[in-house]
């Protein structure tokens, strides 16, 4: 959304370097699930700041509303009632873009500059460059981007890149009443999360831990989970997310191999023509038919 061209370190479908003179500290949003009360203020703040309005939905008999991320709802609270050794627990996860250090959406995107990564780690969509192919959805290990039916562009959490660029915290962080969402440098957030994990462990959550999956190079949205051994319990948070072998092959090795292969076929054909000459009707046969006349 926002365009801080000086801070872009990576652009989709671009083979030359991006501007790299300026360095900004790596940031992270820490979501401490053990502190979340599920009030949805973050959902409201997100729509408020980004000025998106979802359609008024219907009551599905559960607290999740809307039921899933949409092109207008870039973050949703997901409520899971889970039986653990501590009895019934309510695990409420604020879902949205994880801002991977190694983003699958950026790798898959064929449109130059439609997906960018800033030096602070935020992964952003530039909708004016988006062609609506949906490859980012194919590439995302967290199933985050949503294609709008209205304009065929994809949308997702920007981590309020426009606010962060001018030194503000994301809107969801600003509004969170319990301090479950905090924002700062990634280093500070990891330190803060470690502290929280220690406290939770002391309180009897033996398997408490940080969710900062290394399969995607770490993320710039990290969770404190009370049960880090069971990420799936948090409405299907993937255990070991990664770009995966298919997308890796498709948008990795396949590109140079196929391009080179095709060029070699064309060059090979040309060389054959030059060395062997055309395949013409032999004079013998031509003569046969001439005699006939």
């Amino acid at each position: 959304m926002a365009l801080q061209s000086l801070d872009i370190i990576r652009r989709s479908a671009t083979t030359t370097p991006s501007p790299g003179q300026r360095q900004t500290p790596e940031v992270a949003k820490l979501i401490d699930i053990s502190k979340c009360i599920g009030c949805k203020a973050c959902q409201v703040a997100c729509m408020e700041w980004n000025d998106t309005r979802d359609d008024i939905g219907t009551n599905h008999g559960v607290l999740d509303n809307p039921l899933d991320l949409t092109e207008n709802s870039w973050t949703v609270m997901r409520y899971a009632e889970v039986e653990t050794e501590r009895g019934l627990e309510w695990l409420i996860r604020k879902d949205g873009c994880m801002h991977c250090a190694n983003p699958g959406c950026l790798k898959a995107c064929p449109a130059p500059g439609a997906v960018v990564q800033y030096s602070n780690g935020i992964v952003d969509f530039h909708e004016e460059n988006c062609i609506g192919c949906g490859y980012c959805i194919t590439g995302c290990p967290f199933n985050i981007p949503r294609l709008s039916k209205k304009d065929s562009k994809v949308y997702k959490c920007t981590l309020c890149s426009d606010r962060v660029a001018v030194g503000l915290e994301p809107a969801c962080v600003k509004t969170c009443p319990t301090g479950a969402i905090v924002f700062g440098t990634k280093e500070d957030m990891i330190r803060h999360a470690e502290e929280r994990v220690r406290e939770l462990t002391e309180r009897g959550f033996a398997k408490a831990g940080i969710y900062d999956p290394q399969g995607v190079g770490g993320t710039h949205v990290i969770y404190v989970l009370q049960h880090a051994d069971k990420p799936e319990a948090y409405c299907g948070l993937p255990r070991n997310p990664s770009i995966g072998p298919m997308v890796d092959l498709w948008k990795g090795a396949a590109k140079p191999v196929a391009t080179l292969g095709l060029a070699m076929v064309a060059v090979g054909a040309f060389c054959h023509y030059v060395t062997k000459g055309p395949n013409e009707v032999s004079e013998e046969i031509e003569k046969e038919f001439e005699d006939e006349k």
Partner: protein
């Protein structure tokens, strides 16, 4: 162009028109598809009115080619059944490539190489149609789980690369073998050409003699 009554009809006007429909749609598909495959080819989207238009048009052009190619498949599939003679022809393919076809087994309307090309193209096309449906985001992709879409993306790219390579080869073979482009453009071939390149077919067209 039948100014020579002794010429032989190789392709009917309908076959020719349909072949060129497939050819034109294929070239448009290859250009637009490559644009999505590698950033080096992205500027080709300008030929279609930009990235968004290329994304919109590519699958519809694909559907047009699927129909046109389908017609070719049904009209040529019997002529392309690979016989033991064709296998023998393929074993000696090096000699043809080196420019000496004097000792080759007699080719029918299509030689062993053309028949092999036909079946490889049919295989690629089938994979492209199936995987193309899966990754057609506007209408079908939401019906499939992410893992299937990822697999289909790879299949589409691999099958397309092989098909482009085969078509480069196909075009080259037509340029290399003089007068064969005329056959597909105008339909008629000279008898010496037929006897040289497709002797069994030539005999059949001449009513069994020669």
């Amino acid at each position: 162009m039948k100014n020579d009554p002794k010429k032989i009809l190789r392709y009917t006007p309908f076959e020719r028109a349909n072949h060129w429909l497939s050819a034109i749609t294929f070239i448009l598909l290859a250009i637009s598809g490559l644009a999505f495959f590698h950033p080096a080819f992205y500027p080709l989207t300008q030929l279609f009115g930009g990235g968004v238009w290329t994304r919109i048009l590519h699958p519809f052009i694909g559907a047009a080619m699927a129909i046109s190619f389908g017609v070719m498949f049904f009209s040529y599939r019997k002529l392309n059944v690979i016989t033991p003679t064709d296998k023998e022809w393929l074993k000696h393919v090096r000699e043809v490539v080196d420019g000496d076809d004097r000792n080759m087994p007699e080719a029918e309307k299509f030689n062993g190489g053309q028949k092999l090309m036909f079946w490889l193209l049919v295989g690629c096309m089938a994979l492209l149609i199936l995987s193309g449906i899966v990754i057609w985001r506007a209408y079908f992709a939401f019906l499939f789980p992410a893992a299937v879409i990822r697999l289909a993306s790879v299949v589409h790219a691999v099958a397309a690369t092989i098909m482009i390579a085969l078509i480069i080869f196909h075009i080259y073979a037509a340029i290399w073998t003089k007068e064969s482009i005329d056959a597909m453009l105008y339909g008629w071939v000279r008898r010496p050409w037929a006897k040289q390149h497709h002797p069994a077919w030539f005999r059949q067209m001449m009513g069994g003699d020669k």
